[in-house]
Subunit: 277 residues, 2 copies
Amino acid sequence: MTKQELFNQLVTKKSFLCVGLDSDYNKLPKHLLNLSDPIFEFNKNIIDATAQYTIAYKPNLAFYESNGISGWQSLEKTVKYIKEKYPEIFLIADAKRGDIGNTSKMYAKAFFENLNFDAITVAPYMGEDSVTPFLAYPNKFVIILALTSNKGANDFQFFTNENNERLYEKVLKTSKTWGNSDNIMYVVGATQAQMLSEIRKIVPNHFLLVPGVGAQGGSLQEVSKYGINSECGLIVNSSRGIIFADTTADFAVKAEFEAKKIQQEMEEILLKNSLIK
Amino acid sequence: MTKQELFNQLVTKKSFLCVGLDSDYNKLPKHLLNLSDPIFEFNKNIIDATAQYTIAYKPNLAFYESNGISGWQSLEKTVKYIKEKYPEIFLIADAKRGDIGNTSKMYAKAFFENLNFDAITVAPYMGEDSVTPFLAYPNKFVIILALTSNKGANDFQFFTNENNERLYEKVLKTSKTWGNSDNIMYVVGATQAQMLSEIRKIVPNHFLLVPGVGAQGGSLQEVSKYGINSECGLIVNSSRGIIFADTTADFAVKAEFEAKKIQQEMEEILLKNSLIK
């Protein structure tokens, strides 16, 4: 998917919501557990309930890997289901991979060729050759961790050099030279909204994937105020706040309700910023 | 496995060699490709040929994930084979994972509970809560990336603060407070051997996993000179230099030859340092 196609979808759906498929087996509604693939059944219901309000889905690989082979089967079926039924939706592998060049090349094959994801999250610690293999794929995106939403973000991401430059700023400045806004995005946590105006000075045109709204406490209004650009430039993720809003037989109805609520708030923000009419 | 058990094995085998199972399907000997699980057959032969010279195996997850479900089957069978036939061997998941707490917890489950690895490599970018879920498992190790062996290591790992402290030093100093040398190890690339004496001042007692000897050009003599401690404290990995030393029907014989050659060099180093008699 190209950045333009992503933007078109955003305008059509009046939304910049990503639903995180952190489909924890232990939190699934009980009535699904008798089915042959509870995680896939759960995802399918969540997807059908939220697709009209959503521009992206983001399966979190840990929740699939933790179920071994059956988890990978659930993941493959989920990807196939989305790609066939909702081909316009941007599909992100939240995998936080990153290794030396010959290894990252294999991860790129796993997620871009075999599984047909549109994007993958990558940790920047190992530098350029850990990221560039992902950039070799046209119309795919690598989403580099810049400033994350968790408490541990403070441990190293604010490490500051003599020019008062922080590590996450160094990551943004250096890595943006490896590609461009057509193949790189960045993770910036919603809990760091106040940093977004500084970040926008470094990467004015890149899309930012923003986790941390909802369960982690970030504010959509704050994120939009400081982070929005002329193509919106934001994909705001909510996981637990939508998919586990309810864990009874009504889970999909409640997920739809929560997704719609966020979409409506996003529609107002897009209107206010003249990105839609 | 405890650090003491690892050291005992090291003394018994007179070796601190780790064989990296970067079992790239496209590089396998052609005669294996007709079998039902070529990667597992390859690994089994490599393991049987090298186990007496080796204290650790390190499957590189990318080479399994890139084959989807069948890759995970090969991985599970490989882990089971090693744990049953060579229970004394230290088993490292080279996975470079790391995510927010609730997600890292799932990765810990995947690799420590389901697959029974003894250790996993983890990227430090997201800080403490991305690492601590792995430390909750007794007799397991998290191996944190400090200074890697690739060219991209220079992009961020040498980022320096006003006290002339580099990022990888900050990572060592901070993360060592999250646990101790009984549950944390560090990755330090063999191509960075000259840095090892400085690193030993920060983490004198931790085991270091040292990739980059062989195909990547690092020197075993240099690594040992600067990195060895009173328990050896080194696990030196070679992947391609052993497993793909030969890709004909003789691949296992040649792998044994290469592993033995390194083990003999290691035996001399251990003798010289009075770690064995």
